[in-house]
């Protein structure tokens, strides 16, 4: 299970594009093994390296610049994580060390994958994204704090609150295992299925 997330401070790297898709986050060609590990190297491979399949860093890519080295947070636009449902995108981000993504909106499957892997999907209005973009460009140190207890992003003097639905908030704050939580309702689920089977027998094989 992911570690609980309360409050963390680190570098925020701007990746100010709309529709950053999961093929860009981790290309399918980088998903080589039947597992959840060894994916950080493939993170943003198409943008991070100079050649497809190569490992020479492209100095122009934001995560390769000295200013944003070791970034813990990403700043982006609309519909972050769109495309393929591959949870490898969240696994790769987590393994690389990304703890939260701040974006105008998230694709729903990716949002769920973040929550299941301890990455906080922070949804912020475009005006706040602009403020944060200006902040990381001009501040001497482009670091921010994401305080999940207070649901706030702290950037210098600026405090920007965000909202997260209760379920996702609980899961992230306490690093909970949803399967274990649901299995507590095992008897209730069994009872539901038994009566549902009478109502919709065709649904059960």
């Amino acid at each position: 299970m992911p570690a609980p997330f309360t409050s963390e401070t680190g570098v925020l790297a701007p990746l100010l594009r709309d529709n950053v898709d999961t093929d860009a986050i981790i290309p399918s060609r980088e998903m080589r093994s039947v597992g959840k590990d060894g994916l950080a190297e493939g993170l943003f491979a198409g943008w991070r390296y100079t050649a497809i399949g190569g490992r020479d860093l492209d100095p122009a890519f934001v995560l390769n610049t000295p200013r944003y080295a070791g970034a813990r947070f990403l700043l982006s636009g609309l519909n972050f994580g769109c495309g393929s449902s591959r949870e490898h995108a969240a696994w790769a981000l987590a393994e690389y060390g990304i703890r939260a993504v701040l974006a105008r909106s998230f694709n729903p499957i990716f949002f769920g994958n973040c929550v299941r892997n301890g990455i906080v999907p922070v949804e912020l209005p475009g005006s706040t994204i602009d403020v944060l973009a200006a902040y990381v460009e001009s501040a001497s140190d482009p670091a921010i704090t994401v305080d999940l207890t207070a649901c706030a992003v702290i950037a210098g003097e600026g405090v920007h609150t965000f909202s997260l639905d209760a379920e996702a908030h609980e899961m992230l704050l306490h690093g909970l295992d949803p399967v274990a939580l649901t299995l507590r309702f095992g008897a209730e689920i069994d009872a539901f299925r038994a009566s549902d089977r009478k109502l919709r027998p065709w649904a059960y094989l």
Partner: protein, 472 residues
Amino acid sequence: MMPKMMPRTLFEKLWSQHLVRELDARTGLLVIDRVLLHERTGGVALRALREAGRRIVSPRQVFATMDHVVDTLPGRTDRTIMPTGTDFIRALREEAQANDIWLFDIGDAGQGIVHVISPEQGIVLPGMTLICPDSHTCTQGGMGALAWGIGSSEAEHALATGTLRVKKPATMRIAVRGRLSTGVTAKDLALHILQRFGSSFATGHVIEFAGEAIDAMEIEARLTLCNLATEMAAFTAIIAPDAKTIDYVRGRRFAPIGDRWERAVADWEQLASDPGAVFDREFTLDAADVAPMVSWGTNPQQSARIDGVVPAAREGEPATTHGRSLEYMALDEGAALAGLSIDAAFIGSCTNSRLSDLRRAADQLRGRKVAEHVRAICVPGSSSVKMQAEAEGLDQVFRDAGFEWRESGCSMCFFAGGESMPAGARVISSTNRNFESRQGPGTRTHIASPEVVAASAVAGRIAAPVAALGEA
């Protein structure tokens, strides 16, 4: 006397029918009727489940297929062009056997792309909840099911508990007035919606497609339309089942029979949004406004009429997004789309690889030849589609025109390290995503309907289908 029920949307009916309990004001625990798996993400979910010491609640309601990394060349085996593809194939097979899950394996007549075989085999039924660790699971909403894509962890959850914890989406209805013109397809309608409203307009919503144009659509076209709901960032899409849906399901391999069938049909006939049901958002479109479409950029919202030009940036779009797309696609703002020279043409994918798609593409190809500089490939969506197409002689039409005729699978809808289009190649493709490097390193993908792909393959450049041109 029963209190009068508030009119409800189809989605709300299905939500309450499947709701085991409310977890909080916005989250429900829903019972899941079917889980589908494929070798790309299925093996890892099953393995993780086993390693966690958990077992599958109802393995008979779980189905698996080989589609994502399996080769589509004739005579294929477990060996794949993708360097480690065999591991994925064998992991899924081993886990399926160990867990007593039905697997449509290589060589099985039921094998094919998960969202093609599920309706074809009668696995998805109207009114069901169905999940699959694949974003295009929304395709199956075209059957009147509540079907949506999830990640591997959520697949594990559904397998281990028979349920999912789901944040309740808001509702949206997109009604399409009138009928689509000849030569204008469900794919064009989806791209029209994407172009008009953008790639994230449906975030947090379940879309119900309705109206005359949808009623008039055959089931396969409805599957195509719902397929692209994930590109709209929707939770999923659904189309109320009707007589066509019920006719489609009848007699399929896993469809109910006898008394179960009668009871199912009686239930399915109630599955529609009530008159007066309130949606959180509603849009009405005119089918007459929809023309054959083609994408020009690196996201499906970056699409335009085939007789149009590469547009300026969308309002509010970061200049970096638009500029990067133009640069990647080697296009200038204002450039005409029709007439762009292409290097390859691809017909396949969970979007457009069903029998009706192949028939319409074949209509463009009969007695014609693919342009000399174009590599053209057709990958039927399932082994069964392939066999039916061969029985009709469609394979010969494709082959005679110069298309490669393949075994079924996802194939070059995406590049997984195996087969790919050449770097920089401009590809016209009946698939769903025109992302950077989607079909191979540096490939430039233009997505369109199968008839546009076929017509373009012949012309050697992006071209409208013959009939659509004639009637325009």
